[in-house]
Amino acid sequence: MSTGVFDAYELPDGVRCLQMLNSVNVCEGFSVRYPSLDDSDKDVLVKLLIEGNAAIKNMPVSEIIQAIGKVAKRFMDKDDPLRHEALEIMVPTAGVSSEMAETILAGMSADWTGEKLTELLEREFASPAILDGFQRIDSGRSQMAYGFTFNLTVGSGTVPGVGVTALIRALLLKSSILMKPGLGDVALPVLFARALREESEVFRKCLAVAYWDGVKERIGDKILDKAGVVVVYGSQETIRSIRNQIPKTTDLVAYGQRLGVGLVGREALSEMGALQTAQKVAMSISTFDQKGCVSPQVLYVEQGGEVAPVDWVQVLASAMDELEKQLPSGALSQQEVIGVQQLRAAIELKQLAGTGVLLYKGTHESWTVIFDPDLSLKWSDCRRAVYVKPIADLMIAKTLLADSENCLQTVAIVGAVSRKENIAASLAQVGVTRVTSFRQAPWPKPWWHHDGRSVFQGLFKLIDVEDIID
């Protein structure tokens, strides 16, 4: 178990609020310290970020990409002390194992490289130069894209690295940003910001990362009133609470909690292929310890393959167990242990009631697989816990998911190659926005349409200059 303290803030030069530091224990022996920002501190912070925006607005986007890309490479460099520090801090703050921290950092930082960011901008804008100045776009117009002067982003802290991705998006659009990460994702945004400040003076002016306990302390009008856009990742409660606090004219980009679904087609359940299928599914479930919005939490497994769903679930349980050895789950909080005990005891009782339910579980509270012939939608918010439900045809999934329209997003699928588009079309009717493989499910591309939105949607504006015809 790591011991120590992590200072979860990186503020622009000129903010003098560090006399007061609060602290929260994230696990035994490790605490996260964060500044106590009063109204006048917040006022100064926002003023500095707004004043500092001119610096990044004048920086060519290629230079921004270059600076970010350099930091990304540092996170990928096995000899770089920044990478070591990131891994060390991620374990206690995100509650993941060191193996998982490495997996996450490798997966995330690969998407922050200069090459990937250039590709992202090229995919989203006809020409990334549109972010540097007016570009002729047709015979009657020139056009420029500009980000808001001040972007406030509130992270959820469930998946480490998501905060950095949000921060990069704001910087690519030349917005100043205040990022308040969730407690589980403090390490990477803070270290990223720290490293970026070393790359250029510009980032010392337009970039702030600060954790604080959002339950005890509101963001406050001093910040909310000045934000051009507010980006929120989190529960409906958090989103609603922030929506109610911001001025009606301020744009809100919200990413709510989602239910991840997996579909296993009968083609993937051949005697030869069932184990490989189970391994892919187990990896998809276990990545991020299943905390991502993209992580499958309920599986629908098609009948009619060589291996019946009720038998395949045992193969899946073995794969979960094997994976636990290679990629162990993180230390659980007291509340999470209670949650796993509740789940397992409840399912055990249900099993004893002769409902056809089967319970498979790992040692301690590491993983839980539940085979449940009752097709009503159920999922657990415990880590690495999945409900497996047998269905006659994958097309039925749409009907079974109908009541969850507002919280669906990613559906991972294996088998059913020739039926994939028909199934996807049916899932679109219930709000699904991404159908992918189990392998890719945890690792969406940088240009993925999160909740069906394009990457920069809501974060920038376009200005058209029309040719003057008198």
Binding site: S235, T238, S333, Q334, I347, D381
Partner: protein
């Protein structure tokens, strides 16, 4: 058969032998009657351990015989009616089980009503508590509330929840409906409409009438309903001078959930807006899965002005154990662990309930809720703010 509430001079072994020889599933009605009689006795303090244990063990025997899956569950844990010695050995049913399938000790066809949890916190599904005999719930509500709020007076009851007709699956609405009908003799009412909106003007008018007639009030509602109420009063610049003897009952709503206002701040605000001492605000802790409730008083430390919560007190027919989170072994007083409640009123479902709540037991009676530890942010779909505003149970 009658069990005196005070210690009975009878050997344990003889007692068990006699009890289980005659136990049948059809004993439900007799046992329910016996429990109702016991709940109706004026509360003078906790029952002796032997008395509680006799009831609890007898109920365990009944639930073992009338709920086959629970019997297998208990047997797997090595506990059967023939070897049980003490109520603390009774295997608890997790609250999550109520979300998975019906927990019924008796006949499904005999279910009188079903109470549902608001239920989006763990999976999309609602928890359901099937009630075989509402008279047990009624007796538990009345016995407890009479002791805490009606011993010296008969206040009017104003409820900041929907009425039981608009919200038939809410155990909280039922509870306050029962208190209004039986204890306040119909004086009072419900002030949240079917669309979950507080009926502010009606409530103000009713409170003003009670203010002028100097009739004491029992004003009960969820914590978040009170947050909305307090916000509205502050916005309108209104406040009240509730008559002497009035009490506010806050019926949970903070437990383990993220919030933007502390319980103490809410209490201070409510005390000031209604011109009552903070010590006249009582917190209730209950859950859909349990037919009895705890109540917690508050006091202000004279020297420091600090507000202290005095611990949740159970009625005599409800006991708790604090269990080690990892091993589920009982912990001594003062140690923090997961709460397990043994509610005799749950005759028709599961008497022993393993909760997700973390707490500490006091040396004597009562528990303190601790809630979530630092750093354990809520995962999964959370209840929306406005869901607090509606009935939680």
């Amino acid at each position: 058969m009658e069990i005196n509430l005070r210690k009975k001079k009878e050997g344990k072994a003889r007692f068990f032998k006699r009890e289980f020889a005659s136990l049948k599933m059809s004993d439900f009605t007799n046992m329910a009657t016996e429990l109702v009689d016991a709940f109706e006795e004026p509360i003078t303090g906790p029952w002796d351990d032997d008395v509680f244990s006799r009831f609890a063990v007898k109920i365990f025997g009944y639930q073992y015989r009338s709920n086959p899956s629970y019997a297998k569950y208990a047997k797997k844990r090595g506990v059967t009616p023939s070897n049980i010695q003490d109520w603390k050995e009774i295997p608890p049913v997790p609250t999550l089980a109520f979300k998975e399938f019906p927990i019924i000790s008796g006949e499904l066809g005999a279910v009188e009503t079903v109470f549902k949890t608001s239920g989006t916190s763990r999976g999309s599904h609602q928890g359901k508590h099937h009630i075989l005999d509402l008279s047990l719930y009624r007796a538990s509500i009345v016995g407890s509330m009479k002791h805490h709020f009606y011993s010296e007076q008969r206040p009017a009851l104003l409820a900041l929840v929907q009425n039981p007709i608009a919200s038939p699956f809410s155990s909280l609405s039922f509870m306050l409906g029962e208190a209004l009908h039986t204890l306040s003799m119909g004086r009072g009412g419900f002030y949240v409409d079917k669309d979950n909106r507080i009926q502010y003007e009606k409530l103000v008018s009713r409170l003003r009438k009670l203010e002028s007639s100097k009739e004491s009030v029992l004003f009960a509602g969820t914590a978040f309903a009170f947050v909305h109420w307090a916000d509205w009063l502050e916005e309108k610049g209104l406040c009240f001078q509730l008559p002497k003897g009035s009490t506010i009952i806050e019926t949970g709503g903070f437990k383990g959930r993220s919030r933007v206002i502390s319980r103490l701040d809410l209490y201070e605000t409510l005390a000031s807006l209604h011109h009552i001492p903070v010590s006249s605000i009582v917190s209730e802790y209950g859950m859909t899965e349990m037919l009895s409730q705890f109540y917690e008083k508050t006091s202000r430390v004279p020297q420091t002005g600090e507000v202290k919560h005095l611990g949740y007190q159970p009625p005599p027919w409800l006991r708790s154990l604090v269990l080690d989170v990892n091993t589920l072994a009982p912990l001594p007083a003062g140690k923090e662990g997961v709460l397990c409640h043994f509610d005799l009123a749950n005759l028709g479902s599961a008497m022993a309930i393993l909760t997700e709540d973390v707490g500490v037991a006091f040396d004597g009676e009562g528990i303190r809720l601790v809630g979530r530890l630092d750093g354990s942010e809520e995962r999964g779909c959370s209840l929306a703010m406005d869901d607090f505003y509606s009935n939680q149970r």
